[in-house]
């Protein structure tokens, strides 16, 4: 371990030195992928290729990048505006001809391998628009603070995924009666450089695995999945923490118990089973796995900071989603939540896609305003106006989104 680290530091230095001298980086190929040269970090740490320049960088090793709300205005999120949450390093060499998906595990009737071509040709293909949100989206607002990447509002998107149903593949392989959970394995590399260490291996219960919309996907918005987002194969379980949708997918295990891969256990992607006072210590056995994400919405137009004239009518719009559920009602407030105005709300393109909403606003008095937006799911559960129940890892902040507006 220490030797690996030392070797890395040394290589970086040489590369950085050469760069600083205005020379080509002779040994840049030895740099681990996803790693920036020191000379690059020193200036403005650049975003990975293909990302919109106004995304905000939270972390560059591993990549964690979020999207400002006004860049999420499209009904279907374009790939350059999709947030990035990697736990390890992006795999370097991908040979799609040699790529296989293995289905195995104690509750699989057999071990079976599929090539990409076999997956595409043997099973019917489906396309769904699916909303994926990081479990820790909104973490930055928790008080006391929670450890991890300090996401604000931008770790969410809704894109179209094309692939085959996980259910169809599992049915062909055969699943035993005692099956409880599936778990995924991907080809990313652990940050420590230890190639034998699994970065993340999460999963979903059989009921979610067997839903129509749970896909083994090979396309995003009609193109190959971008490398950063899991090329060439990704498990997609819309409406659940995006960490359940494993990237660079090469193995699915069918388990007779709740899957226990890295980041399934301990306090990862878990919240206290019952509410706790802020700052509490919670024992591991009192933490429960997050399943469906809560009801939430975003104002994607206008961008915060809009200055308007008295009486000027303008449109406010955005998206709303509710994990496994549908959003039933959408409201905005111009007076810090004292009164609420109903918005026009569209049905989702398909189950688990976010829904578009809009409202016309006219502010008659001058001054500073905030526009707040809140959605209500089909069970009548609404977004809170303050930060919801504190939890040790800062998950599930679905407090209403706010933008600032000035009237003169």
């Amino acid at each position: 371990m220490s030797n690996k680290r030392r070797a890395f530091l040394k290589k970086t230095t040489v590369a950085g030195l050469a760069m600083a001298w205005g020379m080509p980086v002779v040994f840049s190929k030895h740099l681990p992928s996803g790693m920036s040269l020191l000379a690059d970090i020193k200036q403005d740490p650049t975003l990975p290729n293909g990302k919109h320049k106004d995304l905000s960088l939270l972390n560059d090793r591993p990549w964690n990048i979020e999207t400002p709300p006004h860049l999420l205005d499209d009904p279907i999120t374009p790939k350059d505006r999709i947030f990035l949450r990697n736990n390890g390093l992006v795999p370097e060499e991908i040979d799609i001809d040699a790529w296989t998906l293995t289905i195995e595990g104690e509750s699989a009737s057999q071990t079976k391998n599929y090539t990409l071509d076999q997956l595409k040709s043997r099973f019917q293909q489906y396309t769904y628009q699916l909303t994926l949100e990081c479990g820790g989206n909104g973490r930055s607002e928790f008080n006391p603070p929670a450890k991890g990447n300090q996401w604000t509002t931008g770790a969410v998107y809704s894109a179209e995924w094309t692939g085959v149903r996980l259910r169809d593949v599992l049915n062909e392989v055969g699943v035993k009666n005692d099956a409880v959970y599936i778990g995924y394995y991907g080809k990313d590399t652990h940050l420590s450089g230890d190639v034998n260490k699994t970065v993340i291996s999460r999963g979903v219960p059989m009921s979610k695995a067997f839903e129509d919309e749970t896909l083994i996907a090979f396309q995003l918005n009609g193109e190959d999945i971008p490398l950063m987002h899991g090329y060439p194969l990704r498990l997609i379980a819309g409406g659940w923490p995006a960490s359940a949708s494993g990237k660079w997918l090469h193995k699915i295990v069918v388990r007779s118990k709740v899957h226990d891969g890295p980041k399934m256990t301990g306090d990862a992607y878990r919240v206290p089973c019952e509410p706790v006072p802020p700052g509490s210590k919670v024992a591991e056995e009192d933490m429960c796995i997050i399943e469906s994400m809560p009801v939430k919405s975003l104002i994607t137009y206008p961008k915060t900071g809009a200055m308007v004239k008295k009486g000027q009518t303008f449109e406010v719009r955005g998206h709303a989603w509710a994990g496994d559920l549908e959003v039933k009602e959408m409201e905005v407030s111009i007076d810090f939540g004292a009164t609420w105005q109903k918005c026009a709300l569209e049905p989702p393109k398909n189950r688990l896609a976010w829904q578009h909403w809009k409202a016309g606003i006219s502010l008659t008095d001058s001054g500073y305003y905030e526009i707040w937006a809140r959605a209500m799911d089909e069970n009548g559960i609404m977004q809170p106006m303050v930060v919801p129940g504190w939890n040790p890892k800062g998950y599930l902040n679905n407090a209403c989104h706010r933008i600032a507006v000035k009237v003169s």
């Binding site: 220490s2 040394k10 040489v14 006391p144 652990h190 200055m307 308007v308």
Partner: protein, 156 residues
């Protein structure tokens, strides 16, 4: 006028000398790089014996450059911090977080238990003091005011 061909010859000579000079430097740098990467093999010391300060000396020679590179808050022990806290992940994971000394300690323990972080030995107290001092929690209340607003005129 008769001197012109000579002038050109002189200039060509100068350019040639310059090019030879630049190429020599490039060749030297390539050799230095090869030496540093392939021949200066790391010693076989165990994690406990590693002196993080010697590692940092290879990353950056001055206090200023460590600060520039990592964005970490200034401190006499900055090299120990950078060596131990930025080998696997970027310093941004440190600088975007806030916690008490106890909270930082639990993060270190989690990294040791699950992420291959080594035993920090006598440096653990130095690191914890630094983190608790520079990255302590601030009370944010239940909902903070909207911040960093860039005002612009919304088109009619």
């Amino acid at each position: 006028m008769e001197n012109k061909p000579l002038d050109i010859l002189e200039s060509l000579k100068k350019i040639t000398r310059l090019l030879i000079g630049i190429m020599s430097i490039m060749v030297m740098m390539v050799f230095v790089s090869i030496f540093a990467i392939y021949f200066d093999t790391p010693d076989q010391s165990t994690a406990a014996e590693v002196d993080p300060q010697s590692n940092v000396a290879q990353v950056a020679t001055s206090q200023e450059s460590v600060l520039d590179i990592t964005g970490l808050a200034d401190d006499p022990n900055i090299q120990i911090i950078a060596a131990n806290c930025t080998a696997c992940h970027s310093a941004k994971l440190v600088t975007q977080n806030r916690a008490t000394r106890e909270g930082w300690k639990s993060m270190i323990q989690w990294m040791q238990k699950t992420q291959n972080l080594w035993d920090l030995g006598k440096n653990e107290d130095i690191i914890l003091d630094y983190l608790a001092k520079n990255y302590a929690p601030e009370s944010k209340g239940r909902r903070a005011p909207l911040e960093n607003i860039e005002w612009y005129e919304l088109a009619q």
